[in-house]
Every structure is written in C-alpha cells, then in structure tokens.
C-alpha cells in the first residue's frame, strides 16, 4: 500500500508548566510518525504555549488525540488547512 504524500500542519499545544513539556510534545510527534519543521515555544503566565509545524503522512487527528493524552496538555488546536509538501532530496 503506497503512503499518501506528506502534508504539513500547524499545531498549537497549551500545557501547564512542567520542565519536560517541550520534550514530551516532540517525543509524541516523532514516535507517531511526524517530523517537526518549525517550533515556537514560550512559557507564559498560564503555562506553555507550543506552536509547531509538523510534516507527515499519517492522520493529523491521530496525532492530535495522542497529544491530548499528555497529562499536562490542556488544549490542542490542529490547523486543518493542509499543504502537500515537497521534500528536498
């Protein structure tokens, strides 16, 4: 079965503060078959705001649900506007 073309998505995670927050998010993204192409994370008064651009062939909804399982995640917003990406050789 051929893999669908990889697509790029925007994801934003809001997490309560804890030291390993960023690592946890990146670990889930990687193990669930996506790669991070851009990250913008900041610790705010209310906790972490982690904005990611990720690329992958698998279901974005699957990734969103796995991120939501992280204990410190309060909210995940996944941008449904997908772009088919071309990987450079």
């Amino acid at each position: 079965m051929s893999q669908p073309a990889p697509r790029e998505y925007q994801i934003e995670c809001r997490m309560t503060f804890e030291p390993a927050a960023l690592e946890r998010v990146c670990q889930v993204v990687r193990i669930r078959g996506f790669e991070v192409t851009e990250v913008n994370a900041s610790l705010q008064d209310t906790g972490w705001r982690i904005a990611l651009t990720v690329r992958g062939s698998r279901s974005l909804d699957m990734l969103r649900k796995q991120l939501e399982k992280l204990h410190n995640v309060e909210r995940v917003v996944a941008d449904t506007t997908q772009r088919i990406t071309q990987r450079s050789a």
Binding site: A20, Q27, S59, D61, H71
Partner: protein, 568 residues
Amino acid sequence: MNGAQHILKAFQNHHIDTVFGYPGGCIMPLYDALVDAEGVEHVLCRHEQGCALAADGYARASGRLGVCIATSGPGATNLITGVANAHRDSIPMLVVTGQVPSSLIGTDAFQETDVLGMALGIVKHSYLITDANELPSVMEEAMTLAQSGRPGPVWVDIPKDLLLAEVTRPAPAPNQAVAPEAMAISAALELLYDAQRPLLYSGGGVSLAGAESAFRRLAEASGLPGVVTLKGIGNHHKADPNHLGMLGMHGSRAANEAVEACDLLFVIGARLDDRATGNLAGFAPGARVIHLDADHAEFGKLRAADVALGGDLATLLDGFTEALQARPLATQAWTEQCRRQRTLKGLQTADNEEALAPISGPGFIRQLSRITPDDAIIACDVGQHQMWVAQHYQFDHPRHHLSSGGLGTMGFGMPAAIGAQFACPGQTVINVSGDGSFMMNAQELATIRRYNLPVKLIIMDNQCLGMVRQQQELFYGNRESQIDLNDNPDFVTMARAFDIPAMRIERSDQIRRGIETILALDGPMLLHVAIAREENVWPIVKPGASNRDMLDASQQRQHPTTSKEITA
C-alpha cells in the same frame, strides 16, 4: 516528616500494603524510613527488572496499583523493561526512584541518568521532584493518574536530598472518582440491529475497566459469537458456546474466519493490535465497526469506527445489555453458523495418547488446564509455550491469565507470578515458561525461596528459542540462526541449588503425575518438561500477512511435523 517518610505515608493512605524494590545509594533515605513504617511489606527481588515485573503481575492479578522502587542510574535503567511492559499493556503502576542530589543533577555524577528523559516514551506520566513540598500533591496525583482512565505506569524520580528534606505542605485529600461520561448508544444500537452477522471482539480493556461481569451480561443478552485478543482471554465464561477463541496470528481458524465474514465488529476494550488483525487491508473487510474504549486516542488509530464510544466500559456495556434485553437481536442463524465453525475449526488437539510418546506442548497445557483449580493464575513467559497456553488453557477470568501482550517480554513470567502470589495468597499461581524465557529472570528463584512462595514453576524445554526457530523454519528457508540452547543448565539441579524441589518429565504418561506432584507440595516446586525441539505452534499467520492466509500443520513447507497429535 521528611520526603521519604511522606512517600510511605502516601502508600498507607492509599492502602498500598505491598511494594517491590531493590535498595541503593540514592534511594537509601526511603529504605531507612521503611524500617519504621507499618503496614507496608517490602518485597526484595534480586534484580530491578524483577521488581517492576512483579509489581506488574501484582497489579494484573489483583486490579490494584503495583508499586516498584529502585535507586538511581542502573537501578532505574534496570526497571525500564518492566515499566515499558506495563505501559504497553496499560497496567496501573507507580514507579519510585531515587535520583542523585539536586545539586549534582547534570554533572554526570556517580549513578546519574536522566530518568525523566529516558522514560518519556514508556510512561503515562512522570515527575522529577524539585522541591520536597511537591511530594504531597505529586504522590496523590501519580497514584490517581496511574489507575484512572486507561491505566498505566507513572514514574516519580526524587533526588536524594529531597527524600531527606522536611515536607511542610499537607497532603491533599484523595481525588474523587470521576463520574463516567454519559454517551449516547442509540447510533451503535442501530448498527447492531441492522447487522446480519455481528461479532463481539473483546480485549484487555474489559478487565482493566473492571467490566468483566458487564461484558458477560452483554454476551449473554446479545447471544452473539465472540472472539478475544490475547489479553481478552477469559472475558467469556469458559463454557460459553459462542466463544470462538483468540483471533490473530496464532488464533483459531474459527475466530479468524468469523472476523472475515462478519458485517459488524463490536470492539470492546481492544486496540486492534497488529498481532490480532494481521494485515489491516484484509481485516474484517466487509464490516462496520462499533468501538468502545476508555482511551479516545484508540478510535480510528488503525481502523475507522462507524460509532466510537468512550468512557466507563461497564456503564456502556450495561446500557447495551438493557437495550438488547428489551429488544433482542435476530441473529441466531449467524450464531449457530459460528458455533458449527467452532466445532469444526476451533483449536482441537488430542492429548498424548501413547504412554511412551514424547510430550507435546499443546497436550501438556490441556492436561494442566484440566488438573488445576478453576481459579489458578497462570503467568506465562513469551514464546511458543505462551501461545499454547493462550490456545489450550481454559480460562474463566481474564485476571487468571497473565501474559506480556504488547511488549512480549521474555522473563516476564516468574516475577509476574511472584507478584500475583503476593496479591492472591490463597490461589494457585503457576509460571509456565520456556527454557529461553526462564533464564532471563532466573535470579528470582531466590525471591521465591526467601518468601517461601508456593509458586509452581513449569519449564517447557525444547532446548532452543522455539518461536524464533519456527519462524526461521517457515519464513526464512529453515536457516537456523542463534536459536540453539542445547547447553542449558540442568534446571532440576539449578532449582535445588535455590532449595526449591524439582522434577523432570519427558514422556506422556508422566504428565499427570508431574502436575499433581507440584500442585500437592505445600511450597514452591519446579517441573522440568522436556518437549520436542521441532514442535511448532499452529495455526500461524506470517507476520504482515492477512489472517485469512493462516498456515496449519498440513501446510508446513520445510519439514513435516513429527507430532501426531496436532490436528488444528
């Protein structure tokens, strides 16, 4: 009260009376506090992996939280396999480790490892304590989290200085149970009533949710045929005529064919694991899917569900049962068809009939199943013997079958049996192992002896890594590679060196006496069972193939089996 004392107080508050651990440098303050603690029995295993797997077995057998403790560095790294095992099978576990003092973290100190980073992918959650006053809330949260929703291991890593520091913040009140989600089931019922050939497909989530009785009520009210995953074995009453057995790679032909033929798959507490489904493209190709699970992330992960319902399984199942009792399904013809297939294509293996014949693996397990008490707990290792137990032992409750499903951890069985025996001291606990698996945690014989646990140990010894050998034979042109174990130690002598009685059997007429002897002894005993090297597990689906392409003994390509008993 210092941090270490607070941890033990938290155990007491949560009625945790048994923990499995191994001391060392950075966890010593906790072990010092343990000297004065009341109501907490510490079980000293002989390797941290044994601690974690014993805590896992304790939790599987009892449904309670399993707790393991170790020191920093190698203590923590040795826990990893056991914690990953619990994570893959959603076992509630609390892991407590000592860490190097706060001021030394990040200096490559003696016995320092980044436990938090190392364990990220194998825990439900983890904490590195940075202030002793975090301990009250973290311990409370960790114990609750490990057991709520989809259970799993939660790891608390505590620097040594914080184990010694004063805790001034009081413990929060225990969390209240969260009411299950109220979910509409009408859409799912509509699918059920529309279906001509609905099939129950249940997994380990049933017992994890404490929904065993609710599942059986549904099975009875629906009258539907059912298949189970490895971890769902025991969900159906063992006398349930509609139970078609385990599906998947080593499942029954009746179960796999029913999945292929059904037009509605009613998935209950299962995650559609690849060992169960085979190639997804050929799995239940014409079926719509109702999926019930505590974990929303399982919905649509591998197979889209037409209706997915999350929340408390028992509540959900009772909702279906009530509706089906009021308006029964009209699927008797399908159920009758499946029952006939069960008779024709279920797992049937004759016992060894000739007294002097070598012992067949399936035949031995069937006799074991007949002789042991109904509430016996069987802790398997991983390999051919594990599949023979899954296929041929008749379980009447899912908590009686302890098997490493997701991770497939060789060496799981003996420590899991130790944990189960502590959890269920009045029940017969048997570890069925292979010669390869047994050697992976053989040091735990010392734990069995130390606590005089009446665990019965059975080694099915074919002097090789049988499952690997089988796949090399069938799928790698019979090119055997690094599977030979014909230099195994004398297991009888080995057990006796630990002051554990042992005996060996090698002929069919010795099976009954061997089993009865180990069961009769008031204490631990090892039974060394010699089986043929070339015996295979049948049926088998080639990894990556569709379940419809099952191979059985008659299709063995390289060497016809020498066992006359296999007729599956």
